[in-house]
Structures are given as structure tokens and as C-alpha cells.
Amino acid sequence: MEAPVITAPAPVAPIVERCEALLNDLTFETVRQWKENHPGKKAIGWLPVWAPRELILAAGMLPVGVMGASDRLEIVKGDAYYQSYICHLPRSVLELGLNGSLDVLDGVLFPSTCDVIRNLSGMWRILFPQKYVRYVDVPQNPAMSLGGRFFAEDLRAIAAELGEVSGTPVTHESLRAAFAVCNANRRAVHDLYALRVAKPWCVPSAELYLLVRAGALLPVEEHTALIREYMQLAEASAAKPMDMARVTVRGCFCEQPPLDLIRTIERSGCWIMDDDWLIAWRWFKEDLPLEGDPFENMARVFVTDSPACPTMHLAHGVKGAALKAEIKNTGSEGVLFMAPSFCDPALLDQPMIQAAIEKAGIPWSALLYAENTGQFQVIREQAGTFADALKLS
């Protein structure tokens, strides 16, 4: 059945509008202005899925999330470097680089997410030789004495390099201060998701998405404050509870779904109770400790408290169990797998996770998208059928 169109509750509208403008800021004007207001300061970009933005912050620079260009950018030069069977994200990122939008960045961190982003880091070096480029290999061996130690050493090296780029060396103190800022930000995002689960009608998915996504361009503290402000208004909103299917979305941790896709899913009758888009803003559940060696701490928390993301090699059964736990925690009735076309990490993981939840009797459905998908009938059809099935059963 068709669900009624969800309209934004009025009081939050200005915040939502601002966030949407940030989403559509494809020239990184926001960052340019920040730099103008902070003479001499620099900005460092980072790609999905997760990068240590704390280090960038500690070096006195602005961390900028480069999450692709949604469906708004015409891709010409980016496509010139990619075959049709490669996902869309690197095309738009390259387009942004080649059309000069990313000139405002003084460097980019490429985390170890998949072969595509890994290779993109090398391409970046060739195409933009004057810029700082760093590949951030994350530990796949989770033993603290092995992967953890390697990672702590690497974080130290990255911090030193960032210090050189900014001219402000990273100290234990500045890093701890950055931890505190990011801890507060993560808590705000976790709280926002908790509100969404409690009252999905007060926090439409598209708004939640926009709000978190704003963190890609805003200074961290400002972002935290924005989320808090939104939550106050949203909680007080008069939106009426509505009976829709409750689903958990998985698979969009890297290339981002277009906003209209998120809207389409909600309109076809699904409340998205949990998702893994923009997962970096909720990467740790616990706070980064403010005592002790911060590098060691960050490495330790990384190997013990990272989410069960398809980019990580985890022990047998962990991913399925983690998803089942999330489903339970958020009161979801089913899982909607939503992966970008040609995304190996997401798509290769999917059948294993599906088998796990199927065994637990949890229904699921799956669809594919690209960040520039402009056609939603098929998706509406699939999501709608899924919602119908959940509600009728």
C-alpha cells in the first residue's frame, strides 16, 4: 500500500534546509569560507568508510568528509578513468578533484576500505602531486600485539605527517582534546539514532541522513550543536505516529544512496530504524579514553570496538550476530540490503549475513543503487512489496 507523503515538521525546517544545502555544496564553498575565517588554517579530506579525523583535528586542521557527489554532479572526467563495472563513488570523487572543487583541501586520507579506494589513493598521488596524500591501512589482524601495534605506530606516523602539513605538531594533549570533541559528536549521533528508534515519525530518515551528513563539512563542535538543537525541536514536534514496516538497512557504508532513494523507501512504507550509511560518525560505541597513550588507545578501541562493517575481517559468525543484535535493539522487522552496484565488500558479505538472519527467521529483501540513480520505480516496487509483506504477515 502507498504510504502518505511525510512532510517535515515545521520547526526543524531551517536546520534541515541548511543541511540539504550542505549536501549540495559540491564546490566545497563551506570549507573555503571556513578557511577564510581561519586564516592560515588548513583542511584535510577523508574518504569512506572510516578515517582518524581526531588526528586531523589535533593538528589544528578541519577534517572534511569526501563522501561522493550524490546525483547532482555531471560526471565527465571521472568517468574517463573508470570502466562501467566499477562502482560510482570514485568517479564523482575524481570529478570533484579534477574540476577543482577539492583544491581547497590540503591533503586527503584514503582509508583501507577496498581495492577501489586503495587504488584511488595511488591515482590521487599521480594526478595531484603537490597535495598531501596518505593511505591509511587499518589493522585486519585484530590482536593488539600485532595489528593493534602496527596501527598505533602508523597512527603516530600519520600524526607526525599531519603535524608537518599544518605546522602544528600533534601532541598527546591536543589529541586528547580532539578525542573529547569527537566523543561528544559520536554521542550526539548515537542519541539521534536512539530518538529515531523511539519515535521514527519525529525524525524522518532523510532528515536524519542530512543531519549526520552535515558533519562532512561542518567543524565537529558545530555539528554536535546542530544535532542537539535538531533533537530538541524534533522531540517536541507534533508529528503523528504512523504504522509502517520497520526495517534495518545494510550495505551503504561507502557510496551513499541518493537522498531521494531514502525518501522513496520511507514513502513506500518503511521506517528505516537503523542503517550503515555514514557509519564513520558512529564508528565507536564507547568513548576514546582520555588517559594513557592516545595512539595506543585509538588503536585498541579500533580493534575492539569497530562495527561489523564488511570492510573488516572478523571472527566467524560475528557479523550475523551483530546484525541480529541490532535488529533486536532497534525493533526492526526485517532487513533491506541496499548495496551500491559493483561494490565487492558489500555484495560479497551479503549472502553470508542473509543466511545468518534467515536462520533466525528474519525476513529480508535486497536492492542495488548507485549514488546517481535517478529512477526509483523499481526500488519503490521492491521496498513497497517488502513493506506490504512485513505488514501483512
Partner: protein, 280 residues
Amino acid sequence: MTRQITCGIDVGSSAVKCVLLEDGEGARRVLAKVTERLRHRNVTEVAAIVRDRALAEAGLSAEDLAYVASTGEGEQVHFRTGHFFGMTTHARGAVELVPAARACLDVGALHTRAIVFDERGRVLSHRMTSQCASGSGQFLENIGRYLGVALEEIGSLSCSSSKPEKCSSICAVLAETDVINMVSRGLAVEDILCGIHQSMAGRFMKLLQSAGATGTVAITGGLASDTGLLRALREEGAKQGAKVELVAHADAIHAGALGAALWGGHRLRKLASMGVAAVQ
């Protein structure tokens, strides 16, 4: 309650289908079923045409309809009462036509879906072909046009083939050129068609199996009447050792419209029980 008449309209990408259903107390009865192919015509117009034809066939008028349920690309049916999603209606229609079926394969003009459902026609799981449009009805239709073969003949021609020629292209556009190439190499029309059916069948069986279909599977959608595809599907199923029995009901093309009419009736009763009248 007296006579309750519901209308299901299935707007596909190549044709609009309409079913009128009498669905009150007592037995259900199909009063009329009509299909009209779009062929460059305005959808909204064709939707009205099929409804009017169906009404005429049943000797009724628009006021007699208690609920008009659209499905498929139903936004374009301005006179609808409500809309249901395509797989929801195909599942319901399939179980109505073939009561033993617990799955159906809906082969339409652009997409093919494998749907698994329960005894009441509620969807349990489904799979769809990917965004690439190869191996769909539209493709077969284009090829038919190239070969000068009418849709209705495709099936029997294909069945007469003894040495099918494999067609491997994934893209429908390139496949078309492949086919032209085959003709120029002097291959027989029936062998080409059969080869296409076989490659479609391979994809579709895969779809069915990955959706978890077993037992009786109803074929719905326009291509259900394509005996060549049916044969290829059965052969492919046997080859793969799939535990499915394929059934194509004569009214299979109307499964979506029928399902919509049925869900419409269901909804109407629910609304009535809540004391609300369906508003148009």
C-alpha cells in the same frame, strides 16, 4: 452486502491489463478481463480504454465499481481508489489462478521477478533481474520484429528448433546485433529464438532458485503464453535438478490485475469493518 465489484488495473511497461471481479459473499467470479498493448499510446488513456472495454464486456458502468485497485505503474491511473505494489498483486493473483503454487515467475516486458509467497498470496521473498534489461519480453519482442515473427508465433517456432544457437550477449542492444549477424550467417529463425529462450531460461531458473522457490511455480506476466520459453524453462529446470513444477495458467497475463482486484476487495472489507467508505 450485495454484489461487490472490484476492478484491478495492472499498468505494465508494454501493456495495460484489467480484471473485473465480483467478490462479495459467496463465490468469487471474474466478470471481465481485458488487455491492451500500449504501443506508443498514452498510458492514462489506455487505462481508461481497458476499464471501459471491461465494463462493456460485463455490461456494467463505472458507478458499479466499489474499488479500483491499480498496480504496476499505477500512478497513471487517475481513477484508482488505491494502489498495491506489483509483486504483492502478482503473488495474490498467482495463488488465485494456481492454488497449489507457492511461488511465481513474473516475466514482463522489462523485468522478471521470482516471488515466493504463502497460501494466502503474501510475499515471503523475491528476486528481480538486475538493472540490465537483457532477456526480457521487450527484448524478445524486438527480436521478433527483426525476424518478422509475431509474438504469438514465437513460442511454437522456438519449440520446433532442433539445434538452438546460443546467444550470449548480456546487453539487449548488442544481442540484437548478434541476432542480425546470425541471420546473415544463414541460421534458421527457430534456432535463434530457441537459443534466446534458453539463455533467458538459464537466468530465470537462477532467479527462482535463489528466491528459494520449490514445488508448484506459476508463470505469470506476458511471457507465460510463450510456449518456447516454457519449454526452455522446463528443460533448464530438469538440467539443474530443480525441484519445481512450472504451471502457466491461461489467464496468467492477468495475474497482476486479478491480484489487485482481490486485494482491493480485501481492503474494502477492512475499511467497511472500520466503518469507512472507500473514497475515490
